[in-house]
């Protein structure tokens, strides 16, 4: 209940209203045929033949870009960032990284690796900017409470063809106290 109150009351103030519509973009575990990162057991991800194993089945041809949580940096100087073990990050505001994919590839979604034992949930999003003030969320979602390490895949409702002539792309995360954001794995496919 406490989380609900927080999101409802503060999200508009933080400009997070689009993130409340998260359920539509969240896909079930395994939608991107996750392979396990080495060393951490994510119970909601089906095991594969080892870390970095090639995706199989209908997912053949999918590519990944895995960005460590600890490589995200704060969006403003009032945000406090605390690096956590294992390449994770905790912050009291948004942290970001630019998403550099080759032109023309099809962005399909992002899997967030995290743990959440706090009273406030974390969030992630992928945004697109045109350099002239227009920004939209391509995908976004909440990192709900977990029992230990977990991951959630957020699928773009409409796959996005990367176009650096017109747009830039940003990965954003928010991992408040009790949440560790350990990585964002972007799934894309070749055109």
């Amino acid at each position: 209940m406490r989380k609900t109150v927080f999101h409802g009351a503060l999200a508009p103030l933080l400009g997070l209203a689009p993130l409340l519509a998260v359920a539509a973009g969240a896909a079930g575990p395994g939608a991107d045929q996750a392979a396990l990162p080495a060393g951490i057991q994510f119970p909601d991800v089906p095991a594969t033949a080892g870390a970095g194993a090639a995706p199989s089945g209908g997912d053949a041809g999918k590519q990944y870009l895995f960005i460590a949580g600890s490589s995200l940096h704060r969006k403003d100087n009032n945000t406090l960032v605390n690096p956590a073990p294992s390449g994770c990050v905790t912050s009291n505001g948004w942290v970001v990284a630019d998403l550099q994919l080759p032109d023309g590839v099809i962005l399909e979604g992002v899997r967030a690796y995290y743990s959440n034992s706090g009273v406030i949930d974390g969030m992630v999003s992928i945004t697109r900017n045109n350099g002239a003030g227009a920004q939209i969320d391509l995908a976004s979602g909440v990192l709900f409470h977990t029992m230990g390490w977990a991951s959630t895949y957020f699928q773009l409702i409409v796959p996005e063809a990367i176009n650096h002539l017109s747009y830039s792309y940003v990965l954003q995360g928010w991992a408040p106290n009790g949440v560790q954001l350990c990585g964002l794995r972007v799934a894309y496919s070749l055109p």
């Binding site: 969006k75 990284a97 630019d98 045109n130 650096h164 940003v170």
Partner: protein
């Protein structure tokens, strides 16, 4: 061989559509070539809000819903971003995007590389003009990426301490001078 009635009926609509279309904007130096070119130009756009301060002495904020970033205080005014492109490609242009409604402040974009021995080489720079709202400036670079010796950095300085001057990103145009162009020389 008279034109079918259905086709004839569409002619007025097509003429109206042609008249209503805006005149093509003047081509800019870093636009894609209208005709096939000998090389393929590629682009890499870096979001303004992923640039970070060059030192701790900068207070800054991002502008919600715009992807832009602005200076709010502190002596440091420079935001930086690494350029990570494959070795051997040539950057010919960089376009810096900004928002500027300040009569005194401005955004200035830089392309610089370093020799890892304490020396910085500023290749080109350009500042925003007095405009109302969003705009962009273009710099000519013509440098080839060489990761053996020269790390490259884009930076933007923001004068003023409010959101009347914002930095909204930089777009690199580059091309690969591959073997099919001159590798057999």
């Amino acid at each position: 061989m008279s034109m079918p009635r259905a086709a004839r009926s569409r002619i007025p609509a097509l003429l109206l559509l042609a008249c209503a279309m805006p005149a093509a904007a003047a081509a800019r130096a870093d636009d894609p070539p209208a005709a096939p070119a000998a090389v393929t130009y590629l682009y890499r756009m870096l979001p303004g809000l992923t640039f970070h301060p060059a030192s701790d002495g900068m207070e800054y904020a991002t502008d919600s819903g715009t992807g832009c970033i602005h200076h709010t205080g502190g002596l440091e005014q420079r935001l930086v971003h690494s350029v990570e492109l494959p070795a051997g490609v040539t950057i010919d242009f960089v376009r810096f995007f900004y928002f500027d409604t300040s009569p005194t402040g401005h955004m200035k974009g830089y392309y610089a590389d370093y020799d890892a021995a304490g020396n910085q080489y500023e290749i080109a720079s350009s500042a925003s003009g007095a405009v109302s709202g969003y705009g962009s400036v273009l710099i000519t670079v013509n440098r080839t990426i060489d990761h053996r010796s020269r790390p490259v950095e884009l930076s933007a300085t923001l004068t003023g301490t409010d959101d009347s001057v914002r930095f909204c990103g930089a777009r690199i145009r580059y091309f690969a001078d591959v073997i099919f162009t001159n590798g057999f020389d």
